[in-house]
């Protein structure tokens, strides 16, 4: 193997490495967010949501927080339907 040939491989490899590292990942870099807590009050009447009243409908004014019927999932269960 001549030196020129070694150089070809080396320079190709170096270029490939830079290309791999410098490209932006699809969709941009991942935005890391901290854990957080939020609360969703009823946008119609401002009432909060209590567990006993279920997750889907406002117990006070009937506003639909969600238009679906919940099934038995991982943490959310059928009994969470209002």
């Amino acid at each position: 193997m001549s030196d020129t040939e070694k150089k070809t491989t080396q320079s190709y490899l170096e270029q490939l490495k830079q290309k791999a590292l410098s490209q932006e990942n699809y969709g941009g870099e991942i935005k890391y967010e901290q854990a957080g807590m939020q609360v969703y009050d009823c946008p119609e009447c401002g009432a909060g949501r209590a567990l006993a009243d279920g997750l889907t409908v406002c117990a006070y004014c009937g506003f639909k927080f969600m238009t679906v019927t919940l099934s038995d999932g991982i943490h959310i269960k059928k009994i969470d339907n209002s």
Binding site: E5, T8, T9, S11, Y12, Q15, L16, K19, A20, Q23, E24, N25, Y26, G27, Y40, L55, F65, M66, T67, V68, T69, L70, S71, G73, I74, H75, I76
Partner: protein, 188 residues
């Protein structure tokens, strides 16, 4: 007989889920997708974990097959019809084109693969150059899949020749951009 594995999860049907995945791929956020489906984020995230679990469980591959079909029809899904990620005018034209022009799709599919073979992210290359998102590209793939299988069955040679021509074109393009390939100097 209905398959219990096809029952909706928290009211999110497989059709909803497939369209949601396509829209996530086109640049919508998880919150936007959840809102379009009429649910809050925790409900969407559960469905988003549980549908793939159903697929893993389904040894008949029925769910995966249907997923592909519904994914391809995401643009027609009523819950997402008013919701598009913002794209440039040119991008919008190309997104339309890739779903209506089979040759355009096939050429870009080859280009994408050849880009990967040259150390580039093929999906990003397509987005940068044509404004077509990964989601839209995958939608086009599922739209053309069946027709391409028919083409191959009808005239394999023609299909192969076209593919080879695209391959040659893009291999040249990407190889030139990187200053050639490592074994270019070795000839029989």
């Amino acid at each position: 007989m209905s398959n219990p594995l096809l029952e909706p999860i928290h009211g999110i049907s497989l059709e909803d889920y497939s369209a949601a995945c396509a829209k996530l791929g086109s640049g919508l956020s998880e919150n936007e997708v959840a809102t379009a489906l009429g649910v809050e984020l925790p409900v969407w995230q559960e469905a988003n974990l549980l549908w793939p679990e159903r697929m893993k469980e389904d040894s008949t591959f029925q769910i995966v097959t249907l997923f592909g079909q519904y994914f391809g029809a995401a643009d027609q899904h009523p819950k997402f019809s008013n919701l598009q990620a913002t794209v440039s005018e040119e991008g919008a034209g190309n997104i339309q084109k890739i779903k209506t022009d089979k040759d355009f799709y096939q050429e870009l599919e080859v280009a994408r693969q050849v880009a990967y073979d040259h150390g580039l992210d093929g999906a990003s290359w397509i987005t940068d150059k044509y404004g077509i998102t990964l989601g839209d590209f995958q939608v086009a793939a599922s739209l053309w899949n069946e027709q391409i299988h028919k083409d191959i069955a009808a005239d394999y040679q023609k299909y192969n020749q076209t593919q080879d021509a695209y391959k040659q074109k893009y291999t040249q393009l990407f190889a030139n951009a990187q200053g050639g390939n490592v074994a270019d100097d070795i000839e029989f």
